[in-house]
Amino acid sequence: MSHLYTWSGILIVVFFSVVGDNLMSRAMKQVGDVHAIVKHSGVWTVVGRVLSNSNFFLAVSAMAVAFFSLLFALSWGDVSLVAPAAASLTFIANAFAAKIFLHERVDRRRWIAAVLVAAGVVLLAG
């Protein structure tokens, strides 16, 4: 039973992190190349564009929910399971979500990278 709690907690964390990362990526693509905008019209233009972007606020909300559900999940399960499992599953799930929702070209190179990094995070944080 406690396993079920722990893993559902982990999945909730992964879900909201992925939603947050994808929305943030979409928001920043809508804002545009920060370096180019700063060069062209100053840093306040970037701040204004970011703060007027609804995806940015949705992303920050999703990331906040992910953070607090991580705290909950940590209270249900061991740190040595929850932290690496949530971190590495987020990498894999993000690759799927970026392909589906952001239409990124996730080629073999990027799949291998996602899997290698996920495995590395398990070994490092485990």
């Binding site: 943030m24 545009g32 993000n94 080629d107 590395g120 490092l124």
Partner: protein, 140 residues
């Protein structure tokens, strides 16, 4: 930094919320929060010109740095398994860094934005694939 400061601040209970404010005043916690903000700003900057699947593996280098700092500054022992983890992450980042940073979309979603158009054009020139045919978008 945050962890160091919070351990100095001690346990915080829900009945002593002023403890949270005292914790923020701890210089270690304040530096930790500033660094986290700086990380977030850099992350958003990177996402503005690169794909999410490019940026995320790159940010995982933070785990490697953390382990190396723990080894050389805090003199913690790093096991063989953790060295293997460091190697896997570095390898993964190397893999993704060898590829293109941004998916080239033939029809930009914001053609009216002159800044975006300009940066997209210069990016295409830099990548040497201006007006790449959609067929090139197929999976490898």
């Amino acid at each position: 930094m945050l962890s160091h400061g919070m351990k100095q601040a001690g346990n915080i209970s829900i009945h002593h919320l002023q403890g949270v404010i005292l914790a923020v005043l701890n210089p270690w916690v304040a530096i930790g929060i500033l660094l986290l903000l700086a990380f977030f700003a850099s992350y958003m900057n990177a996402l503005s010109w690169a794909d999410l699947t490019y940026v995320l593996p790159a940010t995982s280098l933070g785990y490697v740095l953390l382990a190396l700092v723990a080894k050389f500054a805090l003199h913690e022992q790093i096991s063989m398994l953790r060295w293997l983890g460091i190697a896997l992450i570095s390898g993964g980042v190397g893999f993704v860094a060898g590829g293109p940073a941004l998916t080239a979309h033939p029809h930009d979603e914001h053609p009216k934005d002159p800044l975006l158009e300009k940066s997209a054009r210069s990016f295409d020139r830099a990548q040497g694939k201006g007006g790449a045919p959609t067929g090139a978008e197929a999976e490898l």
